[in-house]
């Protein structure tokens, strides 16, 4: 468990390093500066959380049925 936590920490540690965007081709800078991109991210996170809970519940039910056998 300790190792796993350490791994997650390391994986996430690079988020802070990358922040700027150069000028050049048009990117979604307005979208990002208005802050609304976080709304999309939040929605995606909710969807994934739902799918995760759904899959884990199927897994649990299956394990119960398998134990009955």
């Amino acid at each position: 468990m300790k190792k796993l936590l350490f791994l997650i920490l390391l994986t996430l540690s690079n988020i802070a390093v990358f922040a700027q965007n150069g000028t050049g081709p048009e990117m979604a800078d307005v979208f990002r500066s208005s802050g609304k991109i976080y709304v999309v991210v939040a929605i995606v996170v909710i969807i994934l959380a739902g799918i995760a809970i759904y899959l884990f519940s199927i897994d649990r039910r299956l394990r119960k049925i398998e134990k009955e056998k």
């Binding site: 988020i15 965007n21 990117m27 899959l55 897994d59």
Partner: protein, 239 residues
Amino acid sequence: MKIISQIAANFYHFLQRQMTRMWWKVGTIILLFYTLIAGFLLGVPDKFILNETIRNLYFHVPMWMAMLSVFVMSVFYSIRYLDKGLEKDDLAAVECVNTGMFFYVLGLLTGMLWAKYTWGAYWSGDPKQNSAAIAFLLYCAYLVLRNSIDEEQKRAKISAIYNIFAFPIMIVLIFVIPRMTDSLHPGNGGNPAFGRYDLDGRMRAVFYPAMAGWSLLAVWIATLRYRIRLIEYKNNSLD
């Protein structure tokens, strides 16, 4: 040869043991949360035509990786079936293909949507698209072939052999032929790839976890389907 079969046997038992375990499923979800958040928020290189759709690398490409992972497992179980003749290995092989087909469709659809905004049309007859469609039919034929045979052992044996041959053909169609012709797809036909030289560190940091995460998710769904199928099979054989 003996060593290979020993490794295969060990891998088989490893999969059997880990199937009902929790740790890798938790890991899968953590990886996916990371890639979905970082995939939108981390910086990407600014490129013309691609613009923000360069982020598709984090979402479209892993669909194909997920498909590939379960198809490889399916071939593994098919070989195992031909070797040992256990019915449950055949069930594992077909459920892996079923899950792979789901991700195949997602890959095709996301690719088409992206093509609309970068190439101008959902379907432009690009070699990559056409080969992907042919390979899709190849696997559809696998499922049709299976369902057309009533006798259990015959069905398992024929579909296992078909599956083993379909896999390399699918690989050649999707990953080799488009590279040799003038496909528009990134990485093919001399187009800039998200490969060794183009993919910068920022993208790698999301791309590789995304590949691993979605692959594991596909394997997880395949194991769920397999466990349901196994219970159905046992119930049917009791009657």
